[in-house]
Structure formats: structure tokens, C-alpha cells
């Protein structure tokens, strides 16, 4: 079998598709390049070679300060927010067997917004236009909101088990309700917080620092490893339920666990980056187009592609209308949506040619 690569040792055994592994490797190189690019671009241009030198030598100086304390944490946040969203979307699309599913469709993003806005409502002091507590607690509220949404969706969809169809329908309803609450909170909130709220809803990683990296990185890594362990189950979930049960899979249990994984990843990303849209939808799509629907390929690739999208979008957000620092969410949608359309058109053309 030329197209496959098998690794066996004792009772351990794994199977990789050579071509897909190559795609993952190349996309990781592109990812590293986009990180370096992000570190080099900004108000002060620092050449990529200088950036590499700073990263490895740790030399001290003005450029080192810019790279290490401003650009690197922000870039890493972009990377892991994107990776979390990409991975979350990939899992969700497998669980509900629908390639159009995304974290925001089942209400994760909108409910995260509700959490963030509740925080702003509770802790904004309208008299002097300031927060009465640290802005660092906002992610906690956003996370709680996002995670609560998933539990509500799951419980409402539960009727002797959960069908993908019910999950989507109830998810859309919960997302709608969350949007309504968001509007009420914005309309009735103090004027000062409207801008803050709107920024958050669009999705921004402006001003993120090492604390955010330290929160997000371990969260992502643990969930990523768990997801890889569950790859097999996800491949089974993607088949008809009857076939999955016939193969001996505990379909309901795994569906619940995978939804929790997806929700936890998206909640972490939403807590730090706000309502960044489109990444959870298109990263898995691009990954499937580059390889195939086997989740052994789609999962790692979605994380890498999601990371690349947000890192590059953030470069654009920081530099295109400088000195304006725009919310990155504008660009994930701005870059993502046309690219998505391009992919769809291209695959249609390929189909017509009979490939």
C-alpha cells in the first residue's frame, strides 16, 4: 500500500495517509511563516531574520521588547483562538453530520456574548465610565455563557437520546434567544459600554497579553490531545447512527463527550477572542478539501488552518488601516467568506469536469 504509512510497535499501531500527512506538514510550515510575518509587521517593521534572532537569542533591546511583550503574545492568542475554533467546528460538523455546522450555529458564540455583556452590565460604573473590577474577569463570564448554552441545547434536544437534527434546530433557537438578550443588554446598558460590547461581539484580540496565552494554551493543548484520542469515535459518528451502533460504538455517550469537547474549545476561544466568526465553519471545510473527510486528517489540519486564518486576519486588522486597530472578526469574515465561495465554486467546476 503505497499511499499509506503504518507505525506498529508491540500493541501500539497507527495508520497515516502519506499524502494527508504531507499536507499537514506543509500547512504547519505555512503556519510558522505566518507567525513570523505577524511578529515582523506592525507600526515598526522588524525583518523576519531579526525576529528569528530575537526569538532564539533573547537579545534585549527595543525590537525585542516589541516582539516579546507585544506581538508574540497577541500572535499566540490569535493562533490558539483560531486553532480552537477550527477544531471545535470540525468536531461539531462530525457530530451533527452536517458540514454547515459551526460553533456559532448552535449558540456557543452568541451565549458567550451574553456572558460578556452581563459582565459589562454588572461591573460598569456609569458615573465615571469605568469598570469597577478588572477586565480580566470578562473571559470567565464569556466562558460560562458559552458553556451554559451547550448544556441547555443538549438538555432541550434530549428525548431518549439526541439526534443531530434536533441539536441543530434547538441550537439555532438558543442562538436566537441569546442574540435577543444581547440586544436588550446593549440597548439598556450605559452608553460607554456600547463600543466595548460591539468590539467584543465582532471578535477582537486587541490588547491581549501573556496572561491570556497562559489561560488559553494549556486549555487548548489538553482538549487537543483528548480530541485526537476521540478521532476514531468521530469517524464513526459521521456515519449513520444505525451503522455506528452496529459497529459497537456507544453513540449517545460519545456524541455527548464530543459535543462537550467542541463546546469547551469554542468557549475558550470565545472567552479570549470574542465572537470571531467564520473560522469554525471554513477551517474544517478547507481541511476536507485538501485531504478527505477522514477525521485523522481533518482534525489536526483544521486546528492549523484555523490558526493560520486568525493570525493572518490579525496582521491585516493591525496594519491595513493603521493606526486604526480593527477587530480581527471583521477580517476572518472578510477573508474567510470570499475564500469559502471560491472553494465552493472551484469544487463545483471540478465536479462538472468529472473529477
Amino acid at each position: 500500500m503505497k499511499s499509506l504509512f503504518v507505525a506498529r510497535k508491540g500493541r501500539l499501531s497507527f495508520l497515516y495517509e502519506k499524502r494527508s500527512t504531507l499536507v499537514v506538514a506543509i500547512s504547519m510550515l505555512i503556519c510558522i511563516f505566518s507567525i513570523l510575518l505577524s511578529l515582523s509587521m506592525g507600526q515598526k517593521y522588524i525583518s523576519i531574520f531579526k525576529v528569528i534572532q530575537i526569538l532564539f537569542d533573547g537579545s534585549i533591546g527595543g525590537d525585542s521588547l516589541i516582539v516579546n511583550t507585544i506581538r508574540l503574545p497577541r500572535t499566540l492568542v490569535a493562533l490558539f483562538v483560531g486553532a480552537s475554533l477550527g477544531l471545535s467546528g470540525a468536531i461539531l460538523q462530525g457530530v451533527v453530520k452536517n458540514p454547515l455546522a459551526a460553533p456559532n450555529i448552535i449558540g456557543i458564540t452568541d451565549s458567550g456574548s451574553v456572558g460578556a455583556l452581563i459582565f459589562l452590565t454588572l461591573f460598569t460604573d456609569p458615573k465615571n465610565n469605568a469598570l469597577t473590577t478588572s477586565i480580566f474577569y470578562m473571559p470567565v463570564f464569556a466562558f460560562a455563557g458559552a458553556f451554559a448554552a451547550v448544556l441547555i441545547v443538549y438538555l432541550l434536544a434530549y428525548k431518549k437520546g439526541v439526534t443531530p437534527y434536533r441539536l441543530i434546530m434547538i441550537g439555532i433557537a438558543v442562538a436566537g434567544a441569546a442574540k435577543a438578550i444581547t440586544s436588550i443588554l446593549i440597548i439598556n446598558g450605559p452608553v460607554v459600554f456600547i463600543k466595548e460590547a460591539q468590539l467584543w461581539i465582532t471578535g477582537t484580540i486587541y490588547g491581549t497579553n501573556w496572561t491570556h496565552v497562559k489561560l488559553l494554551l494549556p486549555w487548548f493543548l489538553v482538549l487537543f490531545v483528548l480530541t485526537l484520542i476521540y478521532t476514531r469515535e468521530l469517524n464513526i459518528q459521521n456515519l449513520d447512527d444505525g451503522i455506528s451502533v452496529g459497529l459497537g460504538s456507544s453513540v449517545e455517550k460519545n456524541r455527548f463527550l464530543l459535543m462537550i469537547l467542541s463546546a469547551a474549545l469554542a468557549s475558550g476561544a470565545v472567552a479570549v477572542g470574542g465572537g470571531i466568526s467564520f473560522v469554525g465553519l471554513i477551517a474544517p471545510h478547507i481541511s476536507r478539501k485538501l485531504t478527505n473527510s477522514s477525521f485523522g486528517n481533518v482534525l489536526p489540519l483544521s486546528a492549523v488552518v484555523g490558526g493560520i486564518i486568525v493570525v493572518i486576519s490579525d496582521i491585516a486588522a493591525r496594519t491595513m488601516l493603521f493606526p486604526l486597530d480593527l477587530p480581527v472578526g471583521i477580517f476572518t469574515a472578510g477573508i474567510g467568506a470570499p475564500f469559502f465561495v471560491y472553494l465552493l465554486l472551484k469544487s463545483q467546476r471540478a465536479l462538472r469536469r468529472g473529477f
Binding site: S3, V6, R8, R11, L12, S13, F14, L15, I229, Y230, T231, R232, N235, I236, N238, L239, D240, G242, I243, V245, G246, L247, G248, S249, S250, R288, N292, S293, S294
Partner: protein, 261 residues
């Protein structure tokens, strides 16, 4: 491994489809379930494969109630192919067939030598070895159905249940699929249970027919003995004349509503 049902009552909500069913599937034979639309033959098959819970009664696999057994253990003894299953169309033949090894694998043991050999065997048996890297979207209906059968073969079970495996297939592929099932039964002594619409094909391929009517087993046995004009009339609500098939010497039904058209 034997499979049988005892006082099985099946239904949805308050609606009872089948009542007090007691059947024993003959070992190493081809059994075909027949009956009119909505008679519950698919429901019975799914329940025997633990996909549906009965309202009362038991399905006994070996010497155990199937709902008491760990699902993965069942998957090593009994495989089910549901009606017209769906899978992402960009998966390759190999991607899908290898899922049949799921009950034997774990997250750290994903592709043993045994898995490899058995998937190779399943592909060869179903004539798919040459197109193993093709995507499902590129296959004909008959090939697709063979892929699913190969997946159930990779499960290496003694019993294989199939729900209308010839549905939506051209006649050529219908025969191809049924020939393959008969071959698996004769060469490898597998117990095969099929739900089939076509009574003539059922007579040709079955060692044992179970005819279902009004929530009960109307008759069961060798098609040569039980398929009569009365049975066709009662079970399918249509007139029939039975002749002997000139090729296979099995009963052949010529069905009609009126003798004048």
C-alpha cells in the same frame, strides 16, 4: 452462534407493530424476511441487531439477552447493514471498509497486522481491491453497496443482517449483491439474514423464509414448501400463480390483480 427471539413485542410509542414473535434463525443458512410494506420486517431485523429496544420479550444471541451484552462484543458476532446508509462522499473505499475493524481496535491500537489482513480480505471478497483508493462519489450504486458489505465483512462476524441491500439497485447489481451473499454463506458458513421485497428473488436465494403478516409470523420454512398461492395472496394481498423456476427449480410467482388487463 445462534440468534433467536422469545415473545418479542415491538412497536413505536403506543403502536404495536409485531406481537409475541418467536423465531429461531437457522445457523449457517440464508434466511429472508418477506412481507408487505410496513409489516415490521425491518423493525424485527433492527431489533435483532440491538438498534431498537423491544417493548417486551428478548433477543437471544448465543445464550445471552442481546441487551445485556456489551455492544462491542456483539459487533464481533453480529454485523448489521441498515437500509441505504449514508457516508461522506469523499471518503475512499478503504477509509470506509476499515471502519468495520472498529470493535477490535482502541485509540492506541488503530491498525494491527490482523486489521490489515482482514480489510484486504474483505476488499478482495467483494471485488473492490482494484478501486480501494477511489472515492465513494465515483462509484456506481452496486459498487457502493459492495463497499458497505465489505465493511460488515471486515467485522468478521458469523452472523450478518442486511436490511433491503438491493434497494434502488439495477437488476444486474441486485443479482450481483445476492450472489455475493449466497457465496459468503456457502463458502464461509456465515449465517445471513436479509429483508427483501422481491418474493421471487427471496425464493431463489433463501434456505429459509419468514413471512410476516398482521404483526405475526404467518409462515416460515423452506420456500419450496411454504410458498403457495394462498401465502402470496394472504401476505401480499395479490393473486398469484406459482410455477417452478426453469433455472433454479425454486418457486416462481406470477402475480396479477385481474386476469383481464
Amino acid at each position: 452462534m445462534n440468534i433467536s427471539t422469545s415473545n418479542l413485542t415491538l412497536g413505536y410509542g403506543d403502536f404495536i407493530v409485531l406481537k409475541d414473535i418467536n423465531v429461531t434463525i437457522p445457523k449457517n443458512k440464508v434466511t429472508i424476511l418477506v412481507g408487505s410494506n410496513g409489516c415490521g420486517k425491518s423493525t424485527l431485523l433492527k431489533t435483532m441487531a440491538r438498534l431498537l429496544k423491544p417493548m417486551s420479550g428478548k433477543v437471544v444471541l448465543g445464550d445471552m439477552d442481546i441487551f445485556q451484552k456489551p455492544s462491542k462484543e456483539i459487533a464481533k458476532e453480529l454485523a448489521i447493514l441498515t437500509q441505504s446508509p449514508d457516508a461522506p462522499s469523499d471518503l475512499t473505499v478503504f477509509n470506509l471498509v476499515k471502519q468495520g475493524r472498529y470493535p477490535y481496535q482502541s485509540w492506541f491500537n488503530q491498525w494491527s497486522k490482523e486489521d490489515e489482513n482482514i480489510v484486504d480480505y474483505a476488499l478482495e471478497k467483494t471485488g473492490l481491491s482494484d478501486i480501494r483508493d477511489k472515492k465513494l462519489s465515483e462509484l456506481s450504486g452496486g459498487q457502493k453497496q459492495r463497499v458497505w458489505i465489505a465493511m460488515t465483512l471486515a467485522q468478521q462476524t458469523e452472523i450478518i443482517l442486511l436490511d433491503e441491500p438491493t434497494n434502488h439497485l439495477d437488476i444486474k447489481y441486485k443479482i450481483e449483491v445476492l450472489d455475493l451473499l449466497k457465496h459468503l454463506n456457502q463458502q464461509e458458513n456465515r449465517t445471513i439474514v436479509v429483508v427483501l421485497h422481491d418474493i421471487n428473488l427471496a425464493c431463489r436465494y433463501a434456505d429459509h423464509i419468514i413471512a410476516i403478516k398482521d404483526g405475526k409470523v404467518y409462515a416460515e420454512g423452506d420456500p419450496k414448501e411454504i410458498v403457495t398461492e394462498k401465502l402470496i395472496n394472504d401476505v401480499f394481498d395479490i393473486n398469484a400463480k406459482i410455477i417452478e423456476c426453469p433455472l433454479f427449480k425454486t418457486p416462481m410467482c406470477i402475480t396479477y390483480q385481474n386476469l383481464t388487463i
